[in-house]
């Protein structure tokens, strides 16, 4: 009997037994992604949790070719794979990078920018769980303001805002860039399909639940992901040739605290005397949301 949660996936493109933690977003993301991209896909994976999840040598969790590569150069490796396949007449084969936020925002950033600017025909998917989780929860430039990590421990919590990678990526004149959430599966699947059918460099950033890193209950991964979107901490939007569309506008104003209070990495923000910090996160989130709405209103036809 087909499990009820598989109703969206007609044919599984991953094997069971992936090595992810309970409540990790990677496997769910990979299942849906692979079910849409199909077998005629070459995945390029830099050092990341997913490199382990999809299988150490000699395992392969995906029913497709997987090229594991060095941390800093997923986009460059994918560029070479793409060029080779094109030369062999396999222009229809999808080349997809699956990377974490460290391999995207930080060490892989130069190669990403290069490939994006060249317009390589690659789909880049970043599972943004806001830290180097594979090495044990160290801060990246995607780590949220206020979060505690092993390199921003205790009272040394992160006091800088995460890099606006979507803004930077959008500035590369891409045909398609989008954010997506596992809690909004139809939106996520629609975006993957849209990205699949566009030629050029495409970028999707997915909010990545990580129970060990975020100090959350594995059973709450989707619920917290939904709260992140509802509280506008993780807005869902698309950028097509510099034109912004906000895909989901929450009707009710939910404070960021509603999402953050479930995450142990923000626990200190709920102690006495921390209200000011929490207000700061709320204000920043509101400003970013307002800016997104304004971007949506601006025609960028060039």
């Amino acid at each position: 009997m087909k499990p009820a949660q598989d109703f969206l996936i007609k044919e599984e493109q991953v094997y069971s037994g992936a090595l992810s933690c309970r409540g990790c977003g990677w496997s769910l993301l990979a299942r849906h992604l692979a079910s849409i991209l199909g077998e005629d896909t070459v995945y390029v994976v830099p050092a990341s949790c997913f490199s382990i999840i999809t299988g150490p040598y000699p395992l392969n969790d995906l029913k497709a070719n997987v090229v594991h590569t060095v941390f800093a150069a997923a986009s460059a490796t994918a560029t070479g794979v793409r060029a080779a396949l094109d030369r062999q007449g396999k222009q229809d084969t999808m080349v997809a990078v699956l990377a974490g936020d460290g391999g995207t925002f930080d060490i892989g950033f130069q190669a990403l920018s290069g490939a994006a600017a060249r317009g390589e025909n690659i789909l880049y998917v970043c599972n943004n769980n806001g830290a180097y989780m594979n090495t044990g929860i160290q801060s990246s430039t995607a780590t949220p303001y206020g979060a505690v990590t092993t390199t921003n421990p205790g009272r040394g919590y992160k006091r800088t805002w995460p890099k606006d990678l979507m803004g930077i990526i959008a500035a590369h004149n891409l045909p398609y860039a989008a954010t997506a959430s596992l809690a909004f599966m139809e939106d996520l699947r629609a975006k993957i399909k849209k990205a699949r059918d566009v030629h050029g460099f495409r970028f999707i950033m997915v909010d990545g639940p990580c129970p060990p890193g975020h100090k959350t209950d594995p059973g709450q991964s989707i619920e917290i992901g939904r709260l992140a979107v509802e509280s506008r901490l993780f807005p869902l939007f698309e950028v097509e040739d510099r034109n912004y569309t906000v895909n989901y506008k929450p009707e009710k104003m939910i404070p960021v605290a509603e999402c953050m209070k479930h995450q142990g990495r923000f626990r200190h923000l709920f102690k006495e005397g921390s209200q000011e910090l929490l207000d700061e996160v709320q204000a920043h989130t509101d400003r970013y949301w307002q800016r997104l709405l304004e971007m949506e209103g601006v025609s960028t036809e060039i």
């Binding site: 005629d40 395992l59 392969n60 070719n65 090229v67 800093a72 030369r87 130069q110």
Partner: protein, 400 residues
């Protein structure tokens, strides 16, 4: 390479073709390297500029743009990305070429390791220059410092040798699935014009068969994973298999060179011995273009021989021992080092000691020409005099 090639220029001007199915051209070393890549029908060239290599990738860009070369040419964002893209194309089954130098090679270091130990075939030219303090001139510290990355390394003495070695290197790399670095000297070779015999395309095609796809590549019909984390129980097996194959290089390189000589008329060895026999009191060991200077100087010194190392990685122990078989035990061996790797001894002496151990030969080291300082015949004469009369174990020439 034997000296006849240099003389061949004269015979051509007299109208006699020394090498059939070739045309003769005066060209810079970097253009000879690009010509080699073109003749080998490389299909993918990721590129990034760095002096003194730049004119190689510029020439390849021109060839690709004008249709002389059927290759995908991509301007990358760094050497790290160049080598990563080369890796991606090789794993997906293309014949790959690129070129770099100095800092570019250092920057690509981790990818060099990955390419070699993912067992991917490719040929890359490195135009040798040192690192810091900043310097762009001739020096082999860059490539020699990468000798432990798992790449096969050849050092070319002339532009002809560079071109010919690239052709041989593709045969070797595609047979063993080990990447090959062909090294030439900055400016003395890269930007200096020489007579070069360019083989006809069909001659190269006869020698180097079209690229065949291997089961170690991306296969859409039979998907697999490449390069995943390797646990200890598998890791040593992979290293063991690499270790067995790297030891096949010395004899394979010899047989490929022999077949090359039959087809192209120019012969190369892993090492070349000049004037090494019972009369020899001193052997100078060299790599790259300093070999040519030594060749000229020792014509005045009947008791001095030359051992030129062409294949440096894996260091051709058997070839070195064979070349020195007739050397009297009281003879002295002096290594000429245009490299500085931060230790007391330079790379050539380290390798020679390893190859000859245990030995009664006295081995000395002469640092000469690091950072591109000219090593004229007078410096070689100085080294000869000092090696024969009052050598220290390690000597710096022309430092004062």
């Amino acid at each position: 390479m034997k000296m006849e090639t240099l003389d061949s220029a004269k015979s051509t001007s007299a109208g006699k073709a020394k090498y059939p199915r070739h045309r003769e051209k005066i060209m810079k070393g970097n253009f000879a390297a690009a010509e080699g890549a073109r003749l080998c029908r490389t299909g993918f060239v990721p590129a990034y500029p760095i002096t003194p290599q730049t004119t190689i990738v510029e020439r390849l860009a021109q060839m690709a743009a004008e249709g002389e070369l059927d290759a995908t040419y991509i301007n990358m964002d760094s050497e790290h990305s160049v080598f990563a893209a080369a890796m991606g194309a090789a794993v997906a089954g293309e014949r790959v070429f690129t070129a770099t130098a100095g800092q570019g090679l250092f920057y690509a270091h981790e990818v060099l390791q990955a390419i070699a130990h993912f067992r991917l075939p490719m040929v890359v030219c490195n135009v040798g220059r040192p690192s810091i303090p900043w310097n762009i001139w001739s020096d082999q510290s860059d490539s020699l410092s990468q000798r432990d990355t798992g790449w096969i390394q050849f050092y070319g003495e002339s532009s002809q040798e560079v071109l010919d070695t690239i052709i041989q290197a593709y045969v070797i790399t595609e047979k063993l699935h080990l990447p090959v670095m062909v090294v030439l000297d900055a400016f003395y070779q890269s930007h200096t014009s020489e007579n070069v015999w360019i083989p006809d395309q069909d001659l190269v095609d006869d020698f180097l068969p079209p690229f065949r796809h291997s089961p170690m590549e991306v296969d859409l019909e039979n998907p697999k994973a490449f390069g995943g984390l390797v646990a200890p129980e598998h890791y040593n097996k992979l290293n063991y298999s690499y270790w067995k194959d790297i030891q096949r290089v010395e004899t394979l390189s010899e047989s490929v060179a022999k077949e090359f000589a039959e087809k192209f008329g120019r012969s190369y060895d892993n090492v070349e011995a000049v004037n090494i026999g019972p009369q020899t009191k001193l052997v100078l060991v060299t790599i790259s273009s300093i070999s040519s200077t030594v060749r000229g100087v020792i014509k005045q010194f009947p008791e001095v021989g030359l051992l030129k190392i062409r294949l440096f990685r894996p260091f051709p122990k058997a070839s070195v021992r064979k070349a020195l078989a007739g050397l009297p035990p009281e003879a002295v061996i002096a290594c000429v080092e245009r490299n500085f790797l931060g230790d007391r001894e330079g790379a050539i002496l380290q390798e020679m000691k390893r190859a000859l151990y245990p030995t009664d030969f006295k081995l000395y080291d002469f640092y000469a020409g690091v950072g591109g300082k000219d090593v004229p015949p007078a410096t070689i004469e100085k080294i000869i005099y000092q090696a024969l009369h009052r050598p220290e174990e390690v000597n710096w020439v022309d430092v004062d």
